[in-house]
């Protein structure tokens, strides 16, 4: 099995006025192609920081992050951005859709960086796959929360990433929509991608191949 994400003894601390917050403390983790890993833990345990470090958005203080065989933190800022565009997809609890763009254009924002030639065909295909074809010209304020998360999923998958990072993707959804999102993540893993999900949701952990627990910046279990 190809290793898509590897974290080696990753550490990330934040200095604040009231002291040092040890958000991630010596975490090592490997996720292979086709693997769906869930990380659970209480708020402030360091899950989101771990996700950011894995997503090439936040450079760890020490340790190494390897994505698809490359160490992106050794690249320049511009190269890291290009790397994210082609290798990593993100799904957030708050969806983070662009208010003034319709569904199709929101999905296509992922192509701003990748400039993929078939972006529009791919976007339409994903919109269809997520049952949003009739909503393609609607803006986010005209969509239900479930539909918004599906748009976010379609956007995350537009550039055919190898790694999908999801931060509480079911946190704002009802059971049915939550199930649909988890099925989608599982489907992505089944197609050969790697998924790292951080969540409070126990059901989400049940769908995953491997559930890990994170407390005080340290990873346990699995």
């Amino acid at each position: 099995m190809d290793i898509i994400l590897e974290l080696r003894d990753v550490q990330k601390h934040f200095r604040r006025s009231d002291g040092v917050v040890r958000a991630v403390e010596g975490v090592s983790l490997r996720i292979g192609a086709g693997e769906f890993v869930a990380v659970q833990g209480p708020s402030g345990s360091g899950k989101t920081t771990l996700l950011m470090a894995a997503g090439v958005l936040m450079q760890p203080d020490s340790g190494a992050v390897v994505v698809a065989g490359e160490e992106p933190y050794k690249l320049s800022a511009e190269q890291r951005a290009a790397f994210r565009a082609t290798h990593i997809g993100f799904v957030f609890q708050q969806f983070h859709l662009v208010h003034y763009l319709n569904v199709l254009d929101n999905v296509l924002t992922a192509a701003l960086a990748s400039r993929a030639a078939d972006a529009k065909e791919r976007a339409n295909e994903l919109i269809k796959r997520f049952g949003l074809a009739s909503r393609a010209s609607h803006v986010p304020s005209e969509l239900s929360t479930g539909e918004r998360q599906r748009v976010a999923l379609a956007r995350a998958l537009l550039n055919r990433p190898k790694l999908l990072l999801a931060d509480e993707p079911t946190g704002n959804l009802d059971e049915e929509n939550g199930r649909m999102v988890l099925d989608c993540l599982a489907g992505f893993a089944k197609e050969g991608g790697a998924v790292l999900l951080v969540t409070h949701d126990p059901k989400a952990a049940q769908v995953s191949h491997r559930a890990l627990r994170m407390e005080n910046g340290k990873l346990a279990g699995g």
Binding site: M52, H96, L101, A110
Partner: protein, 412 residues
Amino acid sequence: MNIGRLIIREILFRKLSFALGVLSVLAAVGCLVGALASLRNHDRRTERIIAAKQAETQEKMELLADDYRRITLKLGFNVLILPKDQKLSDLYADDYATKYMPEEYATRLAKSRVATINHVLPSLQQKVKWPETGRTILLMGVRGEVYMRGAGQKPLLEPVQAGKIVLGAELHQGLKLKVGDKTRLMGREFTVAKLNEEHGTKDDITAWINLAEAQAMLGKEGQINGILALDCTCADARLPLIRAEIEKVLPDTQVIEFASQAIARAEARRRAEAEAVATIEREKQGRARLRSEREAFAAVFVPLVVLGCAIWIGFLSLANVRERRGEIGVLRALGVRARQVLWLFLGRAVAMGVAGACLGYAAGQVAIAGAEFNAPLLAAVFVGAPLLAALASWVPALLAAQQDPADILRQE
């Protein structure tokens, strides 16, 4: 999807913010175009006024010339009475008569009541060295007019009082003398009584003093070397008639024509022309002063408006960046480069500048009645306004591009 499309979609979504920015550029461009159009209008109006004034002056000058011609036709001769033995060649070579006659001749002529003569002006004239200044001058002693028709006659020439001196232009300009100044001439002290303006004749190097003083200074007591008889009124036959009449009274004299109509006419024309030129020049100066005041006002007002607008655009862009923080975070997470984020905001500012330039140029043209289309100004505004808007938005755009997506996503 590309940055341009994203910019257009965002502008259509946040219309008010964009419209406020466009309004700001419109105000700046409108002020600039209006101020320049106003100055150009002023220049055109000035050209029209001056041209009209020149045409009017030309027309008046032609009328004046005709009037002078008619007026001077009615004037008599001016004649110069010289000693009979005076060679005219010497007179013209030396600029003064070298032979003398008694001053009493003038009185005799006046008393004779020659019908063709109205004014009698005796003079003693000689080219001398002004030893105190090292200049050669024509010294002219005059006693004013010897009246032919009693005290009621209007004098043509004022006498020079004893101790006073009247100077030609070359002399007072060269010696920097003013009225009231004291000066010494051949050992005598004189007070400057009058300064003559430039005539371009020998008058410019002439100094007029009292006749008696001149006679004493030149050792010619009781002598004169010319009698100027002015305003001789004879309808025809002119010089021979006057000559005959004078020779009857003063047999050992000769009479020549001197400074008659042509000279009077030319002098009158010259003065009228000078006044016309001065009037046009005054008009030009007045218009130039007005333009300079307008230009000075525009030079302060327009940059102030432009600066105000730039600050306003800067604030609008900053507000736009703050409002779109989440969007910036997610775009950066999706791999959009910092440079692309920078262009996202600068492109919006450029669009603001282009729209503002269009409307501002039109507003400036409409506001100033009669403003003409000015292609170079239009081109300058189309380049300048977007550039200014982009510069004003530069710092907010840079702040947007430098934002850390991880920070944004953690906080949102």
